[in-house]
Amino acid sequence: MAIWIEEDAKVLVQGITGKQGMFHAGKMIEYGTNIVGGVTPGKGGQEVLGVPVFNSMVDAITETDADATVIYVPPPFAGEAIIEAANAFETVKGTGVIICITEGIPTLDMVKAAAYVANRANVRLIGPNCPGIITPGETGGAKLGIMPGHIHAKGRIGIVSKSGTLTYEAVAQTMSIDEGQSTCIGIGGDPVNGTGFIECLEAFESDPQTEAIVMIGEIGGNAEQEAAAWAKDNCSKPIVGFVAGATAPPGKRMGHAGAIISGGKGTAEEKFAAFEAAGIACARDPSELGQVLLASLKEAGLR
């Protein structure tokens, strides 16, 4: 078991004929992901990287029975691509997972897309502006996104993070203490996104493969505080946390559109404090995440 994406999940790529889409579709196939097709309007009937291209998501899901889609569509069209995918999964199959990698989608487009997805109970959106989701397998696995596949290994640690490269750092830290990952999810750094921390924690809590969780936050908003409060009451598995941006000045957007301290709210200190109050073991330096995790595993009798 893993969460949301099984090792053999059937995956589509929206924007597969574009430069980004084609490059990453190739990397996903190399990793062992079961890519069953791509979607680019107007290019249906072609074949790319050995998989068929469809004109629409409805056609693609009807033909392939796909479980998930990864979106590499440019920002002006990505909001609509999410809505198209949500509609297609719901009407053709009743269920599906949408991963949107695209960075730079207008916030009001995301407000619309997020509301559309929220009205479809069995459709899940991860991202946008995220590295994606990966479920490592014994050999290969399902890599739905832009993360470097080779740093991962199948295991029992669930990882959830707002940031891309910091997620890779967390993966490397688990590997440094000989632990693999069940599923790693980047929820993205935009102010309005799909799946949040709490839904990830909830899924990890009920996933038998996951025995401990690493949660990486960053400045801006209060999703980390809410997740910590939820975890305190609902999570039995050990959680280890880090928050990026303790040195970020207020009022300045730090790369990610959502990473901004506004009106003195959303600071790293606030978030670390919320983590600690919830019994989450914190690392102040991400290179210590491995050791903090090891200590938590020992304390829980898991090592």
Binding site: L108, D109, K112, L166, E169, G189, T247, M254, G255, G263
Partner: protein, 402 residues
């Protein structure tokens, strides 16, 4: 992206929101001509900068930094007063609670007619991250700092969330107006104003519209007396007019140049430059430098697909800051390959004649090739295996920390 009050008011007016007559000026002569043309005995003379707290700020001489005048927004009761205030404001520095100690040079002035105010309110529209929708927030406590109102008298703040599918509905506008104690023609005026403002918020891809104060005049009309508007930069591709509204003098020159080359750079006050891939890791790198006793000089995210040329530009931007005494490069290669970064680092070091200590931490894709390239270069580059080691090395190399 922020715009000035006078620009925001032009947008509001075009959208159908009532604002007072006003004229944008850049000289004392303009200001006097504006006073004559407005035909209002009493006018407001308002400094235009991208920061709040202007009224309670201080005007300083840019050379001597001596105080010229208290307040960056003044009410003038005569032509002579307009001249005095315009002289004291234009070309001088305005320091407010939001500008920091250095303050901001004022090049733009807004001369605005007066009006008879019956009550002041607060109104803001913004994207609510938690509810993933547009939030409208209003309060009877106009003219005050909303953070203080939220802290001291939260019951005086009224909120509505707009369902993106349904849009802003009539009952919501009415409820909010009534919560503010409005009735009769003032309520009607509020109802119409809020509809227009919401439409503008959506049409212009705003990130925030804040009107403090929004006023009820003695004639029961609802008027936006101030305007603070910011746009969602992700939507720039569909707003050709934003280029004209952008005031580059309000933005850090180096941050603009970084953005043009696909880099995300924010200048800070420390002396250790950082070059990192990924926003989260870039923040974490700054944090860890601080944790080991150093001070980061900048945030710099080279992004996921930087090439040798971008790495070189990133180095030159970091080195423009004379305070930089050392540089920490921290790359976790995913899509980006460590060998490419290593070549970029060597190219930049040679081209720029780098003379400050350089610590390079590489991990991820092609890490062994990257490390080998650096080791074979005979340049004075200090390798590190993880972030903590990298931060400790650079801090000790520049002689900082404990």
């Amino acid at each position: 992206m922020n715009i000035h009050e006078y620009q925001g008011k032009a947008l509001l007016k075009a959208a159908g929101v009532s604002v007072l007559e006003g004229v944008h000026c850049t000289s004392i002569e303009d200001a006097l001509a504006a006073y004559d043309s407005l035909g209002s005995k009493v006018v407001a003379v308002k400094s235009q900068i991208h920061a709040g707290g202007r009224g309670k700020g201080t005007m300083l001489n840019p050379q001597t930094r001596e105080e010229v005048m208290q307040g960056g927004v003044k009410i003038a009761f005569s032509r002579e007063e307009v001249e005095t205030y315009a002289t004291n404001i234009l070309g001088n520095i305005l320091v407010t609670i939001q500008t920091g100690d250095e303050g901001k040079l004022v090049n733009n002035l807004y001369i605005e007619s007066g009006c008879a105010i019956a009550h002041e309110y607060y109104l803001a529209l913004l994207v609510d991250r938690e509810n993933k929708s547009v939030l409208i927030m209003a309060s009877t406590e106009g003219g005050m700092d909303i953070e203080d109102v939220a802290h001291n008298t939260p019951e005086r703040i009224h909120k509505i969330n707009v369902d993106p599918n349904a849009g802003l509905l009539g009952f919501q506008k009415r409820d909010l107006g009534m919560a503010l104690g409005l009735s009769g023609s003032a309520l009607k005026s509020f109802f119409k104003m809020l509809g227009s403002m919401y439409e503008m918020f959506i049409a212009q891809d705003c990130a925030m519209v804040e009107i403090n104060p929004l006023v009820k005049t003695e004639d029961d009309e609802i008027v936006a007396l101030d305007s603070k508007i910011s746009f969602d930069e992700n939507a720039e591709f569909r707003h050709k007019t934003w280029d004209e509204l952008r005031d580059l003098s309000e933005e850090e020159d180096v941050e603009i140049r970084a953005k043009e080359t696909g880099l995300s750079y924010v200048k800070l006050d420390g002396d250790i430059g950082c070059l990192v891939n990924g926003a989260g890791l870039a923040m974490a790198t700054m944090d860890v430098i601080k944790l080991y006793g150093g001070e980061p000089a900048n945030f710099l995210d080279v992004g996921g697909g930087a090439d040798e040329e971008q790495v070189k530009i990133a180095f030159s931007i970091i080195l423009e800051d004379p305070k930089v005494k050392g540089i920490l490069v921290n790359i976790f290669g995913g899509i980006m390959r460590c060998d490419i970064i290593a070549r970029g680092v060597i190219g930049a070091t040679e081209a720029l004649g780098l003379d400050v200590p350089l610590v390079v931490r590489l991990a991820g894709t092609n890490v062994d090739e990257g490390k080998a390239i650096l080791a074979a270069s005979n340049l004075n580059i200090h390798p590190a295996d993880d972030l903590a080691e990298g931060a400790q090395k650079i801090v000790s190399l520049i002689g900082g920390g404990e």
